[in-house]
Symmetry: C2
Subunit: 244 residues, 2 copies
């Protein structure tokens, strides 16, 4: 019986982990990694902008030189513009860059119209461009993923994809699969496909399945193809394990 240096508990010889030297080395590595994290966090805090979107903390003089307008809000009276800086938009999105550098209508008028989006989603989108921060729920993550895809803001798209994958379950799997396909979100598509093909016996009774067959049968074919290739793989594995 020995004492573990780390948890101070007694352990059997068979449960031995490392020698003392490796334990100390691992400890040092951990310290170094934590220092690096602290430095990176300070860098992020430094590089973050205060956002020019309206809030209690915002500054009166933001030197904003462009506004974004959510076109969806047009029905509810005059849309509220979201102020921004061309320099920031251009540095975060190649689509905004092309739009603003080529002196297109948006650059001359100082107004960028964003279609099919609510004011809240647009505000969160612009805010993310300044701070790399956003508070997500599933609805917002979908809206922002669409915007990120449209304006090629890869960092935000990755973030939304990761969030939506973490929220994946049987109930939203077909919807997520379709959504992932529509917006080139491969992580979501793949994760949803795995979940669906693991539960094929329950699939055909679902309402969303019937709808998908109606609306986009090619996507249903892909599900069956994935299921088939999974079955073939499993069979091959069983086969080879029987032989050995």
């Amino acid at each position: 019986m020995k004492y573990c240096i780390s948890c101070q508990d007694l352990y059997d010889e068979d449960d031995a982990g490392t020698c003392k030297e490796c334990y100390e080395e691992a400890n040092e590595t951990e310290e170094e990694l934590k220092r690096e994290i602290d430095e990176l966090k300070a860098k992020v805090a430094f590089l973050k902008f205060w956002s020019p979107t309206p809030s209690a903390r915002s500054h009166p003089a933001s030197f904003s030189d462009v506004v974004l307008v959510a076109s969806e809000d047009a029905s509810a009276g005059a849309p509220v513009p979201v102020p921004a800086h061309k320099a920031v938009l251009v540095s975060r999105s190649p689509v905004f860059r092309a739009m603003l550098e080529n002196e297109m209508e948006e650059s001359l008028s100082g107004t960028i119209k964003i279609g099919d989006v609510s004011y809240d989603a647009l505000r969160a989108f612009v805010n993310y461009l300044y701070t790399a921060e956003v508070c997500l729920d599933e609805d917002m993550a979908c809206h922002l993923l669409i915007l990120a895809e449209k304006y090629q803001v890869q960092h935000l798209k990755d973030y939304c994809e990761k969030f939506l994958v973490s929220k994946l379950n049987w109930d939203n799997s077909v919807m997520s699969y379709t959504f992932g396909h529509q917006h080139n979100a491969k992580h979501i598509t793949d994760a949803a496909l795995t979940l669906i093909t693991d539960n094929m016996d329950k699939l055909t009774t679902r309402e969303e399945y019937v709808e998908l067959v109606e609306k986009d049968p090619r996507l249903v074919v892909e599900i069956y193809e994935a299921y088939l290739s999974k079955q073939v793989n499993t069979a091959a594995q069983k086969d080879s394990s029987l032989k050995t």
Copy 2:
């Protein structure tokens, strides 16, 4: 004798480190920390600006709305202005914020004159405000620390201090001590003071010492006070270790 899981070497029982469970836990922690580092690095890359200072990579249309001018270069013909954005300057430095938000001369003219600085140092300074990156040597670190102190860019000041502390040696210790004092760089002052008081026997023969007595005797007094309190502490420690 046991095998260490980590380095695969045999070790004596006395050199045992951790149990298997703690080894695995430590491994997981390390993986998690590395993932966090990757995420933070991606965030830094996203938040970084392309800098508007002239370079091969710079964009033709930078939407710059202010220029900074190094006044030191005035003798060598017309100074080269460094383009920037008010929004960036304001978000990185409270001094620039006060200057630009209060519609002082600089805000109205769109030109900020920076005194006692070379064009290269000013360019590196502005570049840091956009990217949190700079390639330092000792000379540049001193110049940037002074600018960071003047414009209250704490992140850059910390960075320069850390760099200068790492370059500290007996030859530059008195100079560093004086420099740290002049620019409120406490880490440099303290580290230099420790180095000096560890080598008091060699101090008084140094040229810089004689100069400092002449120019700023109060700083010399502080050295002696630190030396004295170190001696008292060492004596007290020896005393208590003799008693026990």
